[in-house]
């Protein structure tokens, strides 16, 4: 009983300590990011890294999601005799709901783990100390560039996911009931302006912030050899995915209120 209680307080303390440290870390990164010198070269390298690592994955995930939603939508819509709603349903499900979150989770798995492991191994082999010893701010060189790359790339990757999902979704449908892609798109976006879809796509920048921040934080605070590196990579993915979904609750509500 008492051990359970004390381990519970330990957990709560650990939780608040983690958040406190994350806050301090964020502040240090922010301060480093907004003051010169700016690490343009490293930023470009990281944009390329995030983009090229994630692109094939989001293409595959998006394509699969498109087919799944297409199959599900056809089945349920025909049960309610609302088959003409198919394009709009597909467009809505992909762009408003599935595209952003699937992209976020895929990138968090690939890039989150990558950044977490990379920075953790640099930390335990004293490479981050070496950067600091060379009078270079590691928050600016390593963390700020990676976080910014995630923030910038996530919306673009989400657009790629959406495009692939719409394409395969339409393709799966047209095998059963031929429908030109042009017609499909026209029906799908009928009655909704393009700007209605913008907030859902650009909210993924917040996902990018969460993924980059947590992965850099977990990586740069790593201790204890190869085991620590593995732990940092795992924790980066688990925590980033978890916070991403939690943040989505808030973001969805926020977007509904601000962009009714």
């Amino acid at each position: 009983m008492t051990t359970a209680a004390s381990s519970a307080t330990g957990l709560v303390n650990g939780f608040f300590e983690w958040f406190g440290n994350l806050g301090i870390f964020s502040w240090q990164v922010f301060r480093a990011a907004v003051t010169p010198p700016f690490e343009w070269r490293e930023l470009i390298r990281q944009l390329d890294e995030v983009g090229s690592k994630s692109f094939p994955l989001v293409v595959m995930a998006g394509s699969a999601i498109g087919v799944i939603i297409s199959l599900e939508a056809r089945y349920s819509l025909s049960r309610f005799g609302a088959k003409s709603m198919f394009p709009a349903t597909l467009v809505y499900s992909v762009i408003q709901v599935m595209g952003p979150i699937i992209t976020g989770l895929v990138v968090s798995g690939r890039v989150g783990a990558g950044i977490g492991a990379e920075l953790a191994s640099m930390k335990v082999t004293e490479q981050i100390d070496a950067i600091e010893a060379s009078a270079i701010n590691p928050y600016r060189l390593l963390a700020a560039t990676r976080i910014l790359a995630c923030i910038l790339m996530l919306p673009l990757l989400t657009l790629a996911t959406d495009a692939c999902a719409l394409l395969t979704g339409w393709f799966a449908q047209t095998l059963v009931e031929p429908l030109s892609f042009h017609q499909f798109i026209q029906d799908g976006f009928k009655g909704s302006t393009f700007s209605a879809f913008m907030p859902q796509t650009f909210k993924t920048a917040v996902y990018g912030l969460i993924i980059g921040l947590i992965a850099c934080f977990q990586g740069m605070r790593t201790r204890g050899g190869a085991e620590g590196v593995g732990r940092a990579a795992t924790n980066s993915v688990v925590l980033a995915s978890l916070f991403l979904i939690l943040a989505d609750v808030v973001l969805v509500k926020f977007i509904l209120v601000v962009f009714p």
């Binding site: 082999t125 100390d129 950067i131 009078a135 701010n137």
Partner: protein
């Protein structure tokens, strides 16, 4: 090797230009989670002087160097660089001071995603944009030649031996032409010939550029050649500090053992 020793002896005589110490730590305390590592250490080095720090494994020699460059914060005490206390200084201010310091990590700590040449070029590319790319390249070549690594430009750190990594680390530490050199076991893991070459290089730097150096070493032979003074640490304190001859004449048991066994 006799030449290196001759140089050291000659150099020791002409050196005494004195002046304020470049690095002065005073009454430094540091503990990690209840483990007391440094217990009120005071040491200093002046321009053109080399201090060798000796001590058993785990006495806090590496921690001392990390404190001096600000990678760790002391619990109490002061660390003065050119008379200025760096304890509690903001990161950017410390950065200005760090540009004047060259640091060799105990395990080299080379950037494993960069080649040997890129590792040495790294500090130059961040701090010496004023010199042209080709000049930076020349300097990298010269630095690598100085540590006997001119043949391994394009290799990755994982493809060279530990001793070679150490030498590249030393070249990187020298890239910004520092006034202060902090070396953590520069000759550990090197063969006797490479060790002697590194000793010669340290002596040459001391002579030509009047650097102030602190060298952590387990190699008494090398310490005797390169250092003007030696300090032996034990249990967080300086047990003895002085020239090699002072250590030889000491009655302290630990000192005797150290000299006997090395």
């Amino acid at each position: 090797m006799a030449t290196a020793y001759d140089i050291a002896m000659k150099h020791g005589d002409t050196e005494k230009d004195g002046g304020a110490p470049v690095v002065a730590v005073e009454n430094l305390h540091k503990s990690f989670e209840g483990l007391k590592v440094l217990n009120g250490i005071s040491l200093s080095v002046s321009r053109g002087e080399t201090l060798a720090v000796l001590g058993r494994s785990g006495t806090g020699k590496s921690v001392l160097l990390r404190l001096i460059i600000g990678l760790e914060k002391p619990d109490s005490g002061s660390i003065r660089i050119h008379g200025r206390n760096i304890v509690g200084l903001a990161l950017d201010r410390v950065g200005e001071i760090r540009k004047k310091m060259g640091f060799l990590f105990q395990h080299a700590a080379l950037y494993d995603s960069l080649t040997v040449a890129e590792n040495v070029a790294f500090p130059l590319e961040h701090h010496r944009r004023d010199i042209s790319r080709s000049e930076r390249g020349d300097r990298v070549k010269r630095l690598l030649a100085e540590v006997g690594m001119e043949g391994d430009f394009g290799k990755m750190p994982s493809d060279i031996s530990g001793g070679m990594q150490k030498r590249v680390g030393l070249a990187r530490a020298l890239a910004l032409e520092p006034e202060i050199l902090l070396l953590d076991e520069p000759t550990a893991g090197l063969d006797p010939i490479s060790s002697a070459e590194i000793d010669d290089l340290i002596l040459k730097l001391q002579r030509e550029r009047q650097m102030a150096s602190i060298v952590v070493t387990h190699d008494l032979h090398s310490a005797r050649i390169i250092a003007n003074r030696l300090a032996l640490l034990d249990q967080g304190n300086v047990v003895i500090e002085g020239a090699f001859e002072d250590l030889q004449q000491s009655d302290i048991v630990l000192v005797k053992e150290f000299l006997k066994l090395s």
